[in-house]
Symmetry: D2
Subunit: 372 residues, 4 copies
Amino acid sequence: MNPSTAARELPRTSSASRARTMMAVVKASAGPGAEIREVPVPTCGPGELLLRVLRAGVCGTDLHIVEWDRWSQGRIKPPVTLGHEFVGEVVERGAGVDRFAIGDRVSCESHIVCGTCLSCRSGNAHVCENTRILGVDVNGGFAQYVAVPAANAWRAPANVSIETAAVMEPLGNAVHTAFSGPLSGCNIGVTGCGPIGLFAIGVARAAGAARVIASDVSPYRLELARSMKADAVVDVSRESLVDRVREVTLGSGLDGVLEMSGNPQAVRDGLAALRNGGRLSMLGLPKEPFDLDWNRLVIFKGITIHGIIGRRMYETWVQMDHLLASGRLDIRAAITHVMPMEKFHDAIALLRGGNAGKVVLVPWGLEGGGGA
Amino acid sequence: MNPSTAARELPRTSSASRARTMMAVVKASAGPGAEIREVPVPTCGPGELLLRVLRAGVCGTDLHIVEWDRWSQGRIKPPVTLGHEFVGEVVERGAGVDRFAIGDRVSCESHIVCGTCLSCRSGNAHVCENTRILGVDVNGGFAQYVAVPAANAWRAPANVSIETAAVMEPLGNAVHTAFSGPLSGCNIGVTGCGPIGLFAIGVARAAGAARVIASDVSPYRLELARSMKADAVVDVSRESLVDRVREVTLGSGLDGVLEMSGNPQAVRDGLAALRNGGRLSMLGLPKEPFDLDWNRLVIFKGITIHGIIGRRMYETWVQMDHLLASGRLDIRAAITHVMPMEKFHDAIALLRGGNAGKVVLVPWGLEGGGGA
Amino acid sequence: MNPSTAARELPRTSSASRARTMMAVVKASAGPGAEIREVPVPTCGPGELLLRVLRAGVCGTDLHIVEWDRWSQGRIKPPVTLGHEFVGEVVERGAGVDRFAIGDRVSCESHIVCGTCLSCRSGNAHVCENTRILGVDVNGGFAQYVAVPAANAWRAPANVSIETAAVMEPLGNAVHTAFSGPLSGCNIGVTGCGPIGLFAIGVARAAGAARVIASDVSPYRLELARSMKADAVVDVSRESLVDRVREVTLGSGLDGVLEMSGNPQAVRDGLAALRNGGRLSMLGLPKEPFDLDWNRLVIFKGITIHGIIGRRMYETWVQMDHLLASGRLDIRAAITHVMPMEKFHDAIALLRGGNAGKVVLVPWGLEGGGGA
Amino acid sequence: MNPSTAARELPRTSSASRARTMMAVVKASAGPGAEIREVPVPTCGPGELLLRVLRAGVCGTDLHIVEWDRWSQGRIKPPVTLGHEFVGEVVERGAGVDRFAIGDRVSCESHIVCGTCLSCRSGNAHVCENTRILGVDVNGGFAQYVAVPAANAWRAPANVSIETAAVMEPLGNAVHTAFSGPLSGCNIGVTGCGPIGLFAIGVARAAGAARVIASDVSPYRLELARSMKADAVVDVSRESLVDRVREVTLGSGLDGVLEMSGNPQAVRDGLAALRNGGRLSMLGLPKEPFDLDWNRLVIFKGITIHGIIGRRMYETWVQMDHLLASGRLDIRAAITHVMPMEKFHDAIALLRGGNAGKVVLVPWGLEGGGGA
């Protein structure tokens, strides 16, 4: 099923008619797996919004949680409703919330921050020392309803498809990574063409990169990179990134690399393909520590490396909103699957298989969401 | 005559066949006017290149010099060959020059700087305290040949038209102004749609602005602004810039203004249309001092104002080269007239009349350059 | 009376013993003047702190409000308790406040911001479009008690005097102005040696300026500038700022000017004393619009002008805290008077006379605060 | 012997009296060692200065060259006169040099750059792709005379000692590293207290750091760090850097780390001691590739890593000049030995032993320089 643009046609739910329970994807216990079950509809506390979820994106992190990897074991406290990428319609406003109206379509920043630590007070709330994440630490959006702090809600641009609105959180990762260094008139490499890498190709182009060169080892993902209008795509299982970059940039090299794979060789190749004085911004999470030839790849070249996490709160959202609302950025080609939330486990299987861009889920009770 | 793209078809001149004299547009004496006359072909000193001029752009400054305004009276020491925007073909290399080849097509930075003052040593060579300008302080490019320091030469991207290559100097003004603050994902206003304003529209779009809003009072120039793909054009003789900006930006206001007019009201309107925290970059030269309501327009809004002169040497050229060589930036719609250099006075009249974008001249002896 | 450092010796007030009313300095009606009167002790709402005021600073803005100038007429809605610079002891915590303890000494950011406008969401909360100011729009700190949002409270560094803690708000103006451009190793001018200018001298020195050159026309204030350890002080009624700067900087000129006077000639002199490429940061509010020779002072020199308002929330507070807590910054020489709050009108007279640095008030009931 | 301040008392050499040969420290052949021998006095080409060397600093790189390590084997083409840190007196000016006078005392940038590559044209000449280094690729300053491009010469501030002037090149490394991120009001760590680390302590303090915390494993070097006025020194063989940083910074952590050791554990400790969002600037050269836990130390914390090489040409020199000429920066405590150049091999032994800060050599024929 293709993404629809008919976001405004969905029926609205009156508060009175809401049920007391709802369907949700829940991490129910400490171990592999996740359950689809009936749970209470969340209550809407002071400063919160209750959203009827319209669409939700599936992330690699969800896969890790289902597989119960080491990170999940240390972080997740079941039971918790999963889902940290979603768009919803405001159906109730908690005490003190006046800047949203019932019926507003809002996307959400997933990081709930303390506002008072040194990071928060230094304009770096995205690295708040006390962050709680929706769908990880508190109940998230793989459900019919979700309660979120109004401070985390962002009114989705009116012109974008509902599927695009659903994935503004990971799109924000791509924007944050791209905007962490110069873009205008720059030659930009994107190493790793998973969903966020694909988004980053679109962002770099919309944000004024002179050339965008994408690399991966999967023909499927490289084809998606082409659909996102990369100027060149490089299959690093068969070609040298450095050589192709030299050719495409007429010898200049890359001004910046957006590292989306977490792959050690991709990091090394990206550094090697940078011009002296360039920057590499790392969003991809390596599976384990890895080494670099610091002298050759970083110090002698005067390189800057940025560790990137989350999205700037909320500079990134402003930038993303402008790019989307003006029509400069269109990420629909990277959203390859839209399926009922009921089929969550199929979506996870798709991710595991690697032949998917971004997968978006439709909750129970909505057209395309399956039965409820 | 339209700009041609057939730059590579021009015949090359062998050193042996060069005449001892050439035709040139010369500011011959201290007073209004300029003369077309025969002068010696320049010699090519150590570190210099001798160029056969292929095309040259006419600038408002040339108009001022012909009219012999106050600035010209204080600056120009006749006789001097005019012309500070041009592209030429290398026909001779002075001692010590090895990075250009005979036949290379090069555009030129017009500022010859000392390299040793505090500005030059601080990465601000464009505000060198000892600048000499080609076509102003030393003989320039309104001639069949011109000698330039090799350090000032820039190999023109192979894919651009020869007319585009001729105006990289003023295009660099537009790039420098635009790049003096954030562009990616920004709402950018351009106040004043003369040639550099028109270039700036193209630059801001290519460099990733979310929206570009151009303003002027001339229907002719606003039409050119549309051709350069401004997202909105505002005739400020009939509409409020602030109101149109609010509408087009969905209430956000402008993140940046590129001020190209030197008009006091344009500066005030631009400041008023900025969002809090925005920036205004001033390239346009006001005719005389003018006042601002600093509190309301600058201080309470937390605005940054950048005074802009010249082009960064040579960061701006790198940025411009990337935008042109990648095909992201196309300024041909702003080049409205190409005429023989012989008709220099007609070109000046065109500028005076205001119904012209950039005017480009073809020297004697070239196709389209008239007789010699 | 000299500032005391014995901040920790003050007695604490138990919640039970608090009276229902208190003494305060109140702007009671729309017209010149201010009244000392008995008013109710504020209640402490959700998210708020109730502070027993320990010291409060008097600002030029308070003078304007008493004199009922045009700005006050448009902004102030009497009755309102004045005072936007103060330090207090936490005596009560509203619902949901857990990061302060009873007895904490806190200074306060005076701007209460919305958190949701474009400025707030772009990291520019200090230019929030919906700002309300303590002591201007809502009841302030010229009183025995004040209620403030916990988000605006800043635990004062333990090592600073209570008078220093009282004036962190205006000190933050100085820090914000100074930090709006490069400081380390820079030659910095401070034009205008009122309290914030004096603070700025100390800040620029502590923050690594190579040389700090202060200018004013008042011998009294220039003497205070010397006490704050300016490297040179210039009486611009008798000397040329440009000439003295050239001499003191060995010909380099100023890298930055912190403009604290609002005086048009000071702005022009400051711009003239800047090296090419320098910056001028304007905090001083001009009384009315004034003109500049933009070409000569701003554009040809490639100058950047920053309009400065408030303090960055809360980057400026972090920077200020580090400078104070490390002992690098000591502003006590700029605090020239400490007097009972009862004598508010004497304090205002001192400001009007011009022979005062920062004046600090001691509320009723505290040692040095007069009878109650 | 202590550094002298009597720089201006040295006798001047007339051109006529100069001998045809001089003494020098020469890397004579491909293998371990270096020779003191008589060689011709260099000629002074166009654009060059001939300097009588007054003092020269010994660098760890000189040790590597003597030991003939792998890097030296790949880089050095014997014979070459060593020495890339020195101050000299101008005794002859080549053609076209007019901004220095005979008798000027000049320090030298050691990187001779091409001026035309992308790095040079992008304001990053310090990472020029065609750099040649004095004393490495071309004859250097361990000699009685040296010829240098006038563009590389920097008139030493009149107030500094001749030994300080001799080591502006490595001091510039420290300035460049420190200035590659925020300093004013910041908590700065310096990992590694060799000569450049010691300089960096002084630079960070002079440039406005709130606190400077130095770490090493050598009691000798930590004592020198104390002499350079580090606020705290940490012997990481016995204490945890993270713990001490937490204590000294009152829990804030470091805003920046200046990494001067090349030691993998120092890099990891430095990253761990950074606050979220901090920066680590790496000047120290690791002996071999090493690994990091990127997720924990870089990505989740939003860290920026800067690879640092050389000095910015010539922004760093301007900054260094301001810090020295204003008297803010005094590095004399880090210069522990001054000895005759004749005793070069003793100096190398001192470096190898580790119980030395910066070692400065006095050429033959000067007071303190031994016989000639």
